[in-house]
Subunit: 631 residues, 2 copies
Amino acid sequence: MAKIILEPEGKRIPAHRGQTLLQVLRDSGVVLESLCGGFGACGKDKVLIVRGQESLNPLTRSEEKFLTLDEARKGYRLACQARIIEDGDIVVFVPPESRARPTQRKIVSEGYMRNVTLDPFVKKIKVVLRAPSLEDPRSDYERLVDTLRKVLETDDVKASLDVLRDLPDKARNSNWSLSLVLWGNEIVSIEETTSQRPVYGLAVDIGTSKIVVHLVNLENGKIERVAFAENPQLSYGEDIMSRMSYANIGPENLQRLHRLLIDAINSLIEEVVSEAGVSSEDIYEAVIVGNTAMHHFFLGLPTRYLSSSPFTPVVTRSYSLEAREAGLKINRRGKVTVLPVIAGYVGADAVADALAIGLIEKSENILLVDIGTNTEIFAGNAEDYVACSTPSGPALEGGHITFGMKAVEGAIGRVTIDESGDVEYKTINNAPPSGICGSGIIDAVAQLFLRGIIDRRGKFVEGSATERLIRDEKGRGYVIAWSNETSIGKNIVLWEKDISEFLLAKAAIYAGISIALKRRKLDPESLSEVLIAGSFGYHIDPFHAKVVGMIPDVELEKIKFVGNTAIAGADLALLSRKAREEAEIIAKRARYFELSLDPLFNKEFAYALQLPHRELERFPSIAEIVARKDL
Amino acid sequence: MAKIILEPEGKRIPAHRGQTLLQVLRDSGVVLESLCGGFGACGKDKVLIVRGQESLNPLTRSEEKFLTLDEARKGYRLACQARIIEDGDIVVFVPPESRARPTQRKIVSEGYMRNVTLDPFVKKIKVVLRAPSLEDPRSDYERLVDTLRKVLETDDVKASLDVLRDLPDKARNSNWSLSLVLWGNEIVSIEETTSQRPVYGLAVDIGTSKIVVHLVNLENGKIERVAFAENPQLSYGEDIMSRMSYANIGPENLQRLHRLLIDAINSLIEEVVSEAGVSSEDIYEAVIVGNTAMHHFFLGLPTRYLSSSPFTPVVTRSYSLEAREAGLKINRRGKVTVLPVIAGYVGADAVADALAIGLIEKSENILLVDIGTNTEIFAGNAEDYVACSTPSGPALEGGHITFGMKAVEGAIGRVTIDESGDVEYKTINNAPPSGICGSGIIDAVAQLFLRGIIDRRGKFVEGSATERLIRDEKGRGYVIAWSNETSIGKNIVLWEKDISEFLLAKAAIYAGISIALKRRKLDPESLSEVLIAGSFGYHIDPFHAKVVGMIPDVELEKIKFVGNTAIAGADLALLSRKAREEAEIIAKRARYFELSLDPLFNKEFAYALQLPHRELERFPSIAEIVARKDL
Ligand code: FES
Ligand code: FES
C-alpha cells in the first residue's frame, strides 16, 4: 500500500501500485490542469515530489520534453507520467498553476464575451432645459436638441411624432427637467421626472432548435434574466432546410413560421420581465441574432432563394425597425435591430461570435470555429479574414448518433477511458446518463483511439481486451455506460457506425478550416488563437479535438472554448455603440467564399476522414503519441 | 379734334385736348409700362413723337429728370406727361420696352418661383442588376445598393420591410431589371418593369383661410393640377388665435382641428388625381407649408404654448413622417415633409417664400415682405439676414374694411382716380364689383392722396370738388363704384374709418420693415430688391405702395411683386434636393427678433400712420410729388 501526502494541506490519500499520481489526485478530488487528458502531451500537470521519488517510475520521454533540467533536479514530475511502482509515502506539492482553474470544464451556459466600455445604444439621460422667453424664442425641440448636442456631438437628433406631441406639456409640468430615452440619436421616450426605473434591452439568439433571451440592464450592463425555449418551428422540421421548403410553398406558410418565432419570443419576454419584476415597457430595444434562415423567418422575408443554390439572402446588412412593426411586445416606441449576416450559411449568429471574441481588435491571426449543423469558420486578423461555412451535419449535436443527444440534463459530456479500457464519464447536472452529447462523443472517440481500441479509420481493433467492446446485428460498439447506470434502462453504446458519422462531421470541419487557412495563406503555427464556439454540454477538450483531427495541431494553450458567443454578441451590441458598429464592419469586411466550390474540398474532406488525418505529418504532436503508442 | 397715329401699326385714335398720351393710349387698349400710375415718377412710359410735337405741352420737370438729352432731342416724351394742347395729328411710336409685359398686373394665381435644376427628392429610376451566382453571393439588397451607390454616391440606402419582402420575387420575375421609387436615399417602392407612370408629388399650402394644393409631376417638374378649398377650420374662428384657443381647451379639440385639415387635404388630393387621371398611389410625397399654427394643427402638435407669450413652437426644424402616420391618402409607403418654421409668427410659409425667391443665393441685400394678417419680413442677404413678423391685421385681406373682401371674383383690385376726381377700377374676372380687396385699397388710398382728396393723415380735405365724396352718419367717404354698377345694389364706399384701418396695417408693415433694416444695419438705398408676396387680387402697384408709405422709397424697378410664393416654395422643395436643404438653412440661419420687444417699435409705428410718413424725408421721391402738387 502506498500513500500520497498532499502538501500544504497534509491530506493523506491511499494509493496503489500502477496508478499515476494524476489518477490518485483526481480520485481524491484534486483536479489538475491536464489539458491533454493525461497523455503526456500538454505538460500542464507539473507536481513537486517533496519526498518519495524512489517509489515512482523513472522520468518518461514526455517529462524529458516538458520539464526543465532545473525542475527535474528539484523533483518535479508530470502527474500523468509519474506512476507508483513501490509502496511508500510520497509527499506531493501541487503548485497553484497546475491546479485546474475553476472555470475550466464547467457546464457552459453563457458564451465568452470580451470586455467593452459600457456605452449602450439605448440610454436614459436627464436634461435640464432653459425655459423659453421672448428673448430666447427657440422651439421646445430645438431647445432639447441644443442640450443634447453636447452629449451626442450632433444636432441630427430624431424624434417620433408622439415624442413631439408629448414634449410641451411634459417639459413644463416638470419645470424643464426631463428624462429622455435615446436610441442612438433618436429620442424614443420622454418622462417628466427622472424615473428610477432603469432601461432594459433584450438580446435574442434564435437557434434552429432553441431560442435564448437575455434581459439586459442597460444601466449597469448586467444580464438580469436568461430564458430559453424550444424553437416552435421544430414541428415544421428539425433542420432549416425542411422549414424553408415549407415556407416556400406560399406566403401563408412563411407567415406562419414567422408568427411562431414572434410569439415564442414574446412569451420569453413575458417570462423574463415577470421574473425580474420589470415592465416590458422598460425594454427599448431587442437585438436579434440567428442563422440566415432564422433571420429571414424573423423578418418575414422570403426564403425561396436562400434555400437553393446560390443561396442568396434578401438582405445582409443590419436592419432596424419599429418594435411595433416587428411584432415584439416591448415598449411601443422601442426598436428591433437584427445584426448583419454574411451569407446564406454564415448568419448573424456567426457575426455575433466574431463580435463577442473581438475579431475586429485582433492584430494577430486567429481561427474562429462555431460548430453546429453548419460550422462557420473565420480565419485571419482584423485587417483581413476569410469566412466560410462547412456542412458538418448534426452528429456533434447528437444527431445520427445512436445514443446521441443534445447537451441537456443526463447527457454524457465528458469521457475518459483508462489503460484497462474502463470508462469514467460525467453527465450534465450529474443526472443518470440517457445519452451522449458532442463533447462526450469527441472525448470517447479520442480516448478509444489513444487507448488503441479503434484504429485510424475509426474501426475497432480486433482483440482489444475489454468487456465493453460488444457486437450485435448493428456491428461492433463500445459500452460507455452500462444499462444499470443509465436512466434509459439500456447500455449506452458508441457503435462503429456512430464513429463513422462523427468522422464525417469532423472531416467537414477540418477540411473547412484547412481551406480557409489556405485561402488566407496562413499556417496553423501562425495562429495566435483557435477559438471554438458552439453549444456543447461541456467545453470541448482541446487535446481530444486535436487527437480526432477536428482542429489543426496548434499548442493547446492557444485553443479556447468560448461557448455560445452568439447571444454574447447580441449582448455586446446592446451594451456598446462601438460593438454595434463593429458588427457591421465584421460582416462587410469578411471575404466570404463558397467552400463547396473550392477544388481542394473533396480531397481535404476525404483525407480528414482518418484519425487524426491521412497525412499524419499535419498533426506532429499527435503523431508523436501515435508513434510512442505504436497505434 | 386731335388724332394720334400709332406706329408701326398705323392705328388712328381720336383724342381731345387736355388728355395725356397715356390716357389716350390706355383707352385704346395700348397698355404702357406706367409703374408709377402716371405721376411722372417712374420714367417707364417713354414714347417717341415721330411728328406733331407742336400739339403737345412743353417738357415737364419729370421728363427733364427721366429723359436723356439725346432722347429729348430725338423727340421722346413720357406718355403720362405729354398732354395734348392743340388739335392736330400726332404720330407716336411706342418702343417695345415701354409696352407692358404681359405678366404685369395680371390676376395672380401662382407665386414667383426661381428656376432650379430638376432634381426631385422623389425619383423613379431603373436599375439592372447582375443575377446572383455562387461566385457572386451578395444578397439581393446589397446587389441593389451596390448599383444605387453610383447614383446616390452613398451606400447608406434605406428600405422598408415591405420593400425587402417584395424584392426577391420582383427581381427574379423581372429578370433583374427593376424600377425603384427613391425618397432621398430610401427605397419606397419597387416595381417589376419600368412603369410608364410618372411619380408625383403634392405641394400643400395650408393658409388660415385657404388650402392650396399642387399636383406636381416629378419627372418634368410640371404643375399638373391646382386645387384649393376653404380651410374648414374657419368655422372655429376666422383668425388663428381663436382656433388655437379652441384647441387649447383639450386634446379632443386639437384632434378635431387636426382632422379637419387632413380630411380637407385628402379631398383636394382626390380632386387633383381624378382631374389629372392619375392614381393617388403615384404620389410619393407631400410637402407641407403653412404658418406655425397651421403647421402645428397639421401635425397634431399642441398649440397651448404657441398661442401665448413667448409664443414657443413645439418644433421648428423640418420634419418628415410616413404618409400613413400623417393620415394623407397618397401611396401607403409615401412620405410627408413639413418644411421648417422660424418662430411662432414666422412659419413654414415664410420659409417657403424665402426659398422661392432664392434668399440663400442673394449676395446683395434684399427685403422680402409677405403681407397678410401677420406680415413676415426678411432683410439682408444669403450670409446674414434678420426675420420678424409684424401684426398688420386683416385690412389688406379685406377685414375691418366696410366693403373689404378677399381677392375673389368681383373684388375691385385696381383703382385709378383722374384729375377730375373720377374713378376707373378693375375687378377680378371683370365681374360686377361686390367689394374691394387689398390691392384696390392701396390703389384707392394712394390715388385719393395724390389727387389731394385726402390729407397726410388720411382725412378727407374739405372742399374737394367731387360728387363721389359723400357723408352720412358713418362719417365721410368716397364712392368707388356707384350702386347701379355693383352686384350688391349699393355704393361701394371707402369710408374715412376704413382709411384709418388701412393706415394701421400699413404702419405696422412699414414699422416692421424699418426696424428690420435697422437691425440689419441697412439703408433702403442699399437694397437691390424689394419683394412683396401675398394673396392680393392683382399685383400691388409698387408706386402706390410707396405713396402710402407701406414700403421704403426705393427705385420702382427694384420692387417686385412675387405673389403666393409659399406654395411655390413647396413646389421647389419637391423638385429640388438642393432647395430642400436650403429651406433648412434658411430657417436655421435667420436672425429672428421679436418686433414687439424693440424699443423703437411704438414710435416707428406712430410715425408711419401718416401718408407716406411723418418724416417726409424718408420718402424723397414721394416728397417731390407732394411738393409739386402742394399736398
Ligand atoms: S496531463 Fe500530463 S502532460 Fe497533459
Ligand atoms: S407713368 Fe409716366 S412716369 Fe410713370
